[in-house]
């Protein structure tokens, strides 16, 4: 598969900090890509460079096989920033039409697509309402529609589910899957790890302006697994001693064991089979949440805002 977006050694320095410091990665066409990182890691700056709002200080962006050209390519990108907003006094229909026209759609095309999306997300009755009359969740939905209306090849969603109830969040989630299936690529930026696990194919974790993790969700989990397994047995033996593993945790009939270097799961099973009957046995992979906390905790991420540049 070819990549839709490739970043090579992107850098962006502000007066007081290195917001993005030499980041490279590529995103495959049609994938759902998770851009993760703690607050202030440089995600928004990175996204703003991809959307052409900022120019990188150095490095280059290859979009769809060609060097990125902010003027032409903005019509192929849909961006929903975290700080979202709409004109409060404008009517919803007019607003969607306006934003679509700015993305290069003709009025007729735009109308057609707005009608399609409004119908799909059950928003038809909103047309003449003003944005200030909408609830937070409703305006979130409108914002999503205006982001994907012009059928961008690359859709960038910064915290798309914040403020949505589970019902609407699922609705949007299904739409995101649908868009990816139809060939659009989605960049998904968030710090809600359970959503990432559910949705994303590939993730990149940035911290302090640098990339610290890059891979598919399963790869990453494999990379960070600690050889932990949970085992459920009929009767827990009184004394468990084995050179193959150590018991990390015990809860009623369930044990969590950590397999020692050089041993395998069969060694564990063999040990228990001899003493009792096994009811279940499975590997415990770390959640992205744990990996995230593991990698970010203890770094200067929380104090980054006051860090001085030393170059």
């Amino acid at each position: 598969m070819s990549s839709i977006l490739q970043l090579n050694h992107l850098k962006k320095h502000y007066a007081t900090q290195k917001a993005v410091d030499d980041i490279s990665f590529s995103i495959e066409k049609g994938s759902i890509f998770g851009l993760l990182g703690p607050n202030g890691a440089g995600k928004t700056t990175l996204l703003r460079m991809i959307t052409g709002i900022f120019f990188p200080d150095s490095g280059d962006i290859i979009f769809d096989g060609k060097p990125y050209n902010a003027l032409e390519d903005v019509t192929k990108i849909g961006y929903m920033p975290e700080e979202r907003g709409l004109y409060k006094k404008m009517k919803i229909g007019e607003q969607a039409l306006y934003l679509a026209q700015l993305k290069g759609l003709s009025k007729v095309e735009a109308m057609e697509k707005i009608k399609f999306w409004f119908k799909r997300l059950e928003m038809e009755s909103w047309w003449n309402k003003k944005v200030e009359d909408l609830s937070k969740g409703m305006s979130q939905k409108l914002q999503f529609v205006t982001t994907v209306l012009h059928e961008p090849k690359l859709i960038i969603l910064d915290e798309p589910f914040s403020g949505l109830d589970p019902l609407n969040a699922n609705l949007i989630k299904d739409e995101i899957f649908g868009l990816a299936q139809r060939g659009a690529t989605v960049i998904f930026s968030t710090h809600r790890m359970e959503q990432v696990e559910e949705i994303c194919d590939h993730i990149v974790l940035v911290n302090l302006g640098k990339k610290i993790l890059d891979g598919s969700v399963t790869e990453v989990k494999q990379q960070f697994k600690e050889n932990k397994f949970s085992i459920r047995v009929k009767e827990v033996p009184a004394h468990i001693t084995s050179d193959a593993f150590e018991v990390v945790e015990q809860k009623n009939h369930e044990l969590i064991v950590k397999i020692n270097e050089g041993k395998g799961s069969n060694d564990v099973l063999q040990y228990f089979i001899r003493q009792t009957s096994i009811e279940s046995f499975n590997e415990i992979l770390p959640s992205l949440n744990e990996i995230f906390i593991d990698l970010v905790e203890g770094t200067a991420a929380t104090t980054r805002a006051f860090q001085t540049v030393s170059n």
């Binding site: 703003r48 959307t51 052409g52 709002i53 120019f55 003027l71 903005v74 990108i77 961006y79 929903m80 920033p81 700080e83 979202r84 907003g85 709409l86 004109y87 409060k88 006094k89 404008m90 306006y98 934003l99 026209q101 700015l102 993305k103 914002q143 205006t146």
Partner: protein
């Protein structure tokens, strides 16, 4: 380009379609009329009547001292400084015996302090009475005096201005009116529409729409679209006001009887003189209407209106982008806006002060320079143009002023664009002037 026009359309129609726009457009002139009428009524009512008891030691003021509208001179017996109030007089005027032309003080006592207008009027009346008395002493009797005063008002000043080979009639009063009026209008519009631009930018920033917009259009396009859109709203409002004024004037003419109008036409035909032996005699009303029409026709309207539109647009563009830049760096706190606006409002207010001097004396050095420098040229040049091109304002001055204004607004728009670009995406931080300067002059 296409995107800018979409933005302009939105900025324009979202304001013009607003019910408030129509309301303010119609109500503002009405408000002005009401305000002026109110002020006039108040000033008429506010004048208190003076009933002045005169104690005259000379014996000739009675009959010579003439009453004015709200001043009554009376010559009662047995009134003095102790009892004039209780006898119903507001003031008492004591004129001592004159000894030849030796300097003498007459005294006006009153309970309430009298206004400067009233004071002038009283002293004028007394001087006139003394003058009359002297003329009478010189042998001219009362009726002769009155008829001379009546007849002597036949001469009128006609100021002429050199215009190459020919001369043209000019009117300082008219020039003053036009100059001050148009300068004032430009002053008001700079504030009104400049603030409108600023509020629009602040709205985009605080509603967080800026980032969505900037991901589709360049920040500069967004700023320019807003400035042009609101400028167009301003022009629309102006044209509606002009239509309204013309409408009212035409309506007013309908109330003038056709007889008077035909007299006015005859007056116009014969340049203000009714041909002797003609059948028509111009009435007083016709004379007045003719005088107004004649004065108004003295101004070089095409030049004035053309320049007004130019300086209105130029001045607006010059300051609007600065207002936009300020709007872009303001965070939610409106007090920030106040302090950041200060350096922009200062030159506007300063220009207004220069303008009000230039309109009285259009040829001073400061007026000339201020009419060329783009910070103040829109207002000050309008004040001077009213006095005539190329008489007061030479062609090179006008050209220099216009070119520097165009250059000026291109420069401010360019610099503001750079501040705007950074400021509109900057949240939470209070921006200093130094930082804004850095953004403005940063390359790229």
């Amino acid at each position: 380009m296409n995107k800018i026009s979409i933005i302009i359309k939105r900025e324009y129609f979202s304001r013009v379609k607003n019910r408030r726009f129509l309301l303010t457009t119609i109500l503002t002139p009405l408000l002005f009329v009401v305000f002026i009428a109110g002020a006039t009524i108040l000033s008429l009512k506010g004048k208190d009547n003076h009933k002045i008891a005169v104690i005259d030691q000379n014996g000739f003021f009675k009959g010579n001292l003439k009453n004015a509208n709200d001043i009554n001179f009376e010559f009662p017996e047995g009134v003095d400084t102790l009892n004039y109030l209780s006898k119903g007089y507001t003031d008492i005027l004591i004129i001592p015996k004159f000894e030849g032309t030796e300097k003498v003080n007459y005294i006006l006592r009153s309970k309430k302090r009298i206004g400067i207008g009233t004071e002038d009027l009283i002293s004028n009346r007394i001087n006139q009475a003394i003058e009359d008395k002297m003329l009478q002493d010189a042998g001219i009797n009362r009726s002769q005096l009155d008829s001379i005063k009546e007849k002597s008002k036949f001469a009128e000043l006609k100021a002429l201005e050199e215009k190459g080979e020919t001369v043209q009639e000019s009117s300082a009063g008219l020039s003053y009116g036009i100059g001050f009026g148009s300068g004032m209008l430009i002053y008001l519009t700079m504030f009104i529409y400049g603030a409108m631009v600023m509020r629009g930018v602040m709205e985009e920033k605080t509603n967080r729409i800026a980032e969505v917009m900037v991901s589709s259009v360049k920040p500069f396009e967004l700023m320019l679209g807003k400035i042009i859109g609101i400028g167009a709203v301003g022009l629309t409002q102006f044209f509606m006001w002009i239509l309204l004024i013309f409408g009212l004037m035409t309506a007013a003419q309908l109330f003038i009887s056709p007889e008077v109008m035909s007299q006015v036409n005859t007056l116009q035909q014969y340049n203000g003189q009714i041909p002797t032996g003609g059948m028509v005699k111009a009435g007083e009303a016709a004379q007045k209407i003719y005088a107004i029409k004649h004065t108004v026709s003295m101004a070089n309207w095409p030049v004035i209106i053309g320049c007004f539109i130019f300086y209105f647009i130029g001045g607006y563009l010059f300051y609007a982008s600065l207002f936009a830049a300020v709007g872009s760096v303001v965070n939610e706190d409106p007090q920030d806006a106040q302090s950041l606006m200060f350096p922009i409002t200062m030159p506007i207010i300063f220009s207004f002060i220069i303008m009000s001097n230039a309109v009285q004396d259009p040829n001073t050095g400061i007026a000339t320079w201020a009419s060329i420098i783009p910070f103040s040229s829109p207002m000050v040049m309008m004040a001077r143009i009213a006095y005539g091109v190329p008489g007061t304002v030479s062609y090179w001055q006008l050209a220099a002023s216009m070119i520097s204004l165009i250059g000026g607004f291109l420069l401010t728009t360019w610099l503001s664009g750079k501040i705007y670009r950074t400021g509109i995406l900057m949240y939470g931080k209070k921006v200093t002037w130094k930082e804004m300067g850095k953004w403005a002059f940063r390359r790229g």
